[in-house]
């Protein structure tokens, strides 16, 4: 069984890449991540001008993070050494860069290419700083930027997109038309993680980027849209902490995946866990390569008018084994589920509208949806 895959023509030993962020802020950090099993690393965003980082700049709980970190603290010159370290170590490095204009972006691209970067990721989509609002939401601007960079370098170019837009497909298309080799998504989502009601202050003093577990559904939706729009190598990002999350992205069409927050919360050991579980799953299912599952779920996505109305209702697949539970009864907004004193759960198929919620709330998979008899 083989986990290897391809990212814009670059052969990778597995689909797990460390995304741009504090865990790739230096050569030393990147090497640690590679040693933990990652197949490639994306540097923290590299700029011409260093932006000082405020304190505090991170807040988080329950697998969710908000950050107001403004990119790398190393100078462009310093990145020569940092990237060089990783290259010497034999790792694959994707340099994430951000600039204000197409020509500045091309200049940065040429520079990090000389430093040895294997590919570029255009980090135009941070919800704070100048990323998203300048380049990341306007297709003509994006087209111009990507085209300039593609013309300037010989290494593959990937564009990192944000879900904070209402024209994601058009942006992906603009990147493709301009000659990009890949797209990665998503970047963090503009957010305010919370407000301290005693001091009446937001946890962090400005809008930040939301990442981690809760953003995965948004990442999955964005990646599906991108994969349905362009024919490029797509790298899925957002809320990956377990092997099945990675598979979900791949089944929606991604070639590779990136992660950051889970490693911040739980350490680099997560990389090995995901890869081991992924191997186990593939073996148990008899798959030899990720190509056998890639895009399979994407093909099942329909438009509303393609969904056939079936007269389905909930039925009990087996007897309820949990005396103390009543999740299904509470959740059914149509009052169709009743749990008797004897612990027997029954569905009134005349009241049931086939909404499907009981199937997902039952921890014992007691329900199925079947054609009404």
């Amino acid at each position: 069984m083989d986990l290897s895959c391809e990212l814009m023509g670059i052969k990778l030993k597995n689909p797990l890449i460390i995304s741009s962020g504090p865990l790739t802020r230096s050569g030393e950090m990147m090497i640690k991540a590679l040693d933990a099993g990652a197949s490639a690393v994306v540097t923290e965003t590299i700029l011409n001008e260093i932006r000082p980082n405020v304190r505090p700049r991170l807040t988080g709980h329950d697998g969710a993070l908000q950050n107001i970190r403004l990119y790398s603290e190393y100078s462009l010159e310093e990145w020569k050494r940092q990237i060089g370290m990783v290259k010497e170590h034999g790792g694959v490095v994707i340099a994430n860069i951000l600039a204000h204009s197409p020509s500045e972006m091309a200049f940065l691209g040429r520079t990090v290419e000389r430093y040895g970067a294997d590919a570029l990721e255009l980090g135009i989509s941070s919800p704070h700083g100048e990323g998203l609002s300048v380049l990341g939401c306007d297709p003509p601007n994006l087209y111009e930027t990507v085209r300039k960079v593609v013309e300037a370098v010989n290494i593959p170019v990937m564009v990192k997109l944000s879900p904070n837009v209402n024209n994601l497909a058009a942006l992906a298309k603009a990147a493709e038309d301009a000659g990009a080799d890949g797209i990665s998504a998503i970047n963090t989502i503009r957010s305010i993680l919370g407000v301290d009601i005693n001091s009446m202050s937001p946890f962090l003093p400005t809008y930040g980027g939301y990442s981690g577990d809760p953003i995965r559904p948004i990442g999955l939706g964005a990646v599906a849209t991108i994969c349905q729009t362009v024919n490029l190598s797509v790298s899925g990002i957002g809320g990956i902490s377990r092997f099945n999350h990675l598979l979900e992205y791949i089944m929606l069409g991604a070639s590779t995946c990136q992660l950051q927050s889970a490693l911040i919360f739980k350490g680099l050991g997560v990389i090995g866990e995901i890869l081991e579980d992924l191997r186990g799953w593939m073996e148990s299912k008899g798959y030899n390569s990720l190509d056998e599952v890639r895009g399979k779920a994407l093909n099942r996505l329909k438009s509303f008018d393609e969904i056939i109305l079936e007269p389905k209702v909930a039925m009990m697949a087996k007897n309820c084994p949990r005396p103390g539970c009543s999740l299904c009864e509470t959740a059914c907004i149509f009052g169709a589920v009743e749990k008797g004193r004897d612990g027997k759960v029954q569905v009134d198929t005349d009241k049931c509208t086939g909404c499907g919620l009981c199937l997902s709330v039952c921890p014992e998979t007691c329900f199925t949806l079947e054609w009404k008899r």
Partner: protein, 345 residues
């Protein structure tokens, strides 16, 4: 003297409900009837007074006049109108004009004779002068499809010029330049509007309008088939076809396939209407949808509201509903996501 509206307000129900208690008590729940009867007594309201203020000669029948009973689009209008009429306790008289102005005039006379409460005219061919009697008799009227007369008549309409413009612009954005047009029956204003949309979309992209690419059909499947055969004689062949309705588009697809062309590889096709069958065609037909069933519902609601209103000259309502591109396979677009969100990228 208290009036029916006061009764309704006191009872916390609509005027229509009070009137139903008076005219058709069997259609009202016993509890409601009892409640309203009590309020009428309290107010010393006598139905005779009500009879003078409101036309009791109501027939509880509304008429729907459509051009062609075979066209599934028109049956969708009827479905919407019927549903509301039934819910409000009205019968529906369906009249099929077969696209003839004189037949439409006959029907109007017949409906007036039958003391019809109100009339919905779908895609009417009538002229200003034909409305004389309807106006004199103050029969509530809703024009469906196209706001052809003036803002003083109720209308529920869509913009067929805009819909055609969307379809043809979509074809142009996909790179097509030789775009043929199978037009509908030119007697109908909505078909002339579609032709306008077609030419405007071409001109706005600097593409010349060529007469040889424009063929007139008769709104049905067969005429679409024949029109496509005619287009196939052209050299060079058109690279896309926009048909003014789905039935003609289906006929055209059939003819093109019969002549060995692959859709959309060799030629793209877009229709208009988004009838159910359009999504069953192979390849699935890209088309322009307009919410015809919903427009039927709204027409009936406006009509019956006016029938039941005791206002002397209620202001006309003009309600516009937007056409939308429904992207499927036959246009030859590249991105699956366009089909899901109906957004060209």
């Amino acid at each position: 003297m208290p009036n029916i509206r006061e009764v309704a307000r006191r009872a916390g129900v609509s005027v229509a409900t009070v009137s139903r208690v008076l005219n058709h008590p069997e259609r009202v729940s016993p509890k409601t009837k009892e409640h309203i009867d009590r309020i009428m007594k309290e107010l010393d309201f006598s139905p005779n007074v009500f009879a003078r203020s409101l036309n009791l000669k109501r027939s509880h029948t509304v008429g729907l006049v459509i051009p062609d009973i075979v066209n599934p689009q028109y049956m969708e209008i009827a479905r919407g109108v019927e549903q509301v009429a039934h819910e409000k306790g009205y019968n529906l008289l369906l009249c099929n004009t077969e696209k003839s102005r004189s037949k439409e005039q006959d029907y109007i006379r017949m409906l007036i004779d039958k003391k019809i409460d109100g009339i919905i005219l779908a895609f009417t061919l009538l002229q200003e002068e034909d409305f004389e009697e309807i106006r004199r008799k103050k029969i509530p009227l809703v024009l469906f499809g196209q706001n052809i007369l003036n803002e003083n008549i109720n209308s529920v309409y869509s913009d067929f010029r805009e819909g055609a413009y969307l379809a043809v612009s979509h074809l142009i954005s996909l790179g097509f330049r030789r775009i043929a047009y199978i037009g509908g029956d030119g007697d109908h204003l909505e078909n002339r509007d579609k032709t306008l949309g077609y030419t405007e979309a071409l001109l706005s992209e600097g593409i010349a309008v060529s007469k040889e690419l424009m063929v007139e059909g008769a709104d049905d499947v067969d005429s679409g088939y024949l029109a496509a055969l005619k287009l196939l004689k052209l050299s060079p062949l058109p690279d896309a076809v926009f048909a003014a309705n789905d039935l003609m588009a289906m006929g055209a697809v059939d003819a093109l396939k019969a002549e060995g062309l692959r859709i959309p590889h060799d030629i793209s096709v877009i229709g208009y209407d988004n009838i159910r069958m359009a999504s069953l065609l192979e390849p699935k037909l890209t088309t322009v949808s307009w919410p015809v069933y919903k427009m039927g519902l709204i027409s009936a609601r406006i009509l019956i509201e006016e029938v039941e209103s005791d206002e002397e000259n209620p202001p006309a309502q003009n309600i516009y509903l937007r056409p939308r591109l429904k992207i499927r396979k036959s246009c030859g677009h590249e991105t699956r996501v366009s089909e899901i969100f109906d957004q060209p990228t």
